[in-house]
Symmetry: C2
DNA sequence: GTAGCTGCAAATCGTTTGCCGATCA
DNA sequence: TGATCGGCAAACGATTTGCAGCTAC
């Protein structure tokens, strides 16, 4: 069960001028249950407003990302995929057969990572963790 | 202390036709102590043989990668970077200020990842872990 | 009113590819 | 010899940008 994030409200809170196009992009992002790429997003956007150009989609995604409203993920083998920025950080497990993404978070893992960085003489400022797997017992 | 890998020997072992150009690319990769990108590699290659084109560099890197002789890493913010494939897997800590890469490996971490995948109903087939940090006590 | 937006088409960037003469085994 | 290679320049695909007109506030 994914927590719905009101992207438009976040934009307004940041004082962004809200155009019709941005509202549509925000709506599509808010409603996405998956982690769509630009092409998928554009397709969904055009279902609502046929005239919105790909340039606007790119511009808007960059804008939202810089504002911290959006996360861009560069998983292996594929174009960047997007999700509305969650309030609690999580990591991703990607199904290598279907591309489906499962979210998870594990405090133990983060502790361990901090320890490793520390041991190497660094302060951990960020990390990227992606698991790639195949579903167990896929057939009946 | 980085273990030197004889890339040319690995190519020969795989039965690749070894041209003058491939020997140069192999040599540069074997001698690299860092994780250079294509541009850096091409620069080093040209120091040995001025005539080798960027197309050849790209073709050769792809060839080596497909043969499992080379690893391509797509760290955040930047072009892909390469290293001769190590025989024991390791992960990377990237200095966000300098781009320098420190290698590490932690069996505990891998166990934990396997457990997480398992808990989510997946068999772990691969993963990507990158730590981003700043050096502690950088100044004297 | 004016700063900032959008659509369009052209530009950009890193990377790949078709062609054809050259090289390797 | 026959398969494979490499250099060149053109092609490519995803993304960005300049411009001129339009919109939010």
């Amino acid at each position: 069960m994914r927590k719905r994030i009101d992207v438009e409200a976040l934009c307004v809170a940041k004082g962004m001028p809200m155009t019709e196009q941005r509202r549509v992009v925000a709506k599509v992002l808010s409603e996405a249950e998956d982690h769509p790429d630009v092409e998928a997003l554009h397709a969904r956007i055009r279902e609502i407003d046929r005239g919105i150009s790909i340039a606007t989609v790119y511009r808007t995604l960059r804008l939202f990302e810089k504002a911290g409203i959006l996360e861009r993920h560069e998983f292996r083998h594929g174009r960047p995929r997007y999700e509305a920025a969650p309030d609690v950080r999580h990591d991703h497990l990607i199904d290598v057969e279907t591309g489906a993404v499962t979210e998870f978070s594990d405090p133990e893992l983060e502790t361990l990572q901090k320890q490793i960085a520390d041991r190497l003489g660094y302060n951990l400022v960020d990390y990227r963790l992606e698991l790639y797997g195949t579903k167990r017992d896929r057939k009946p």
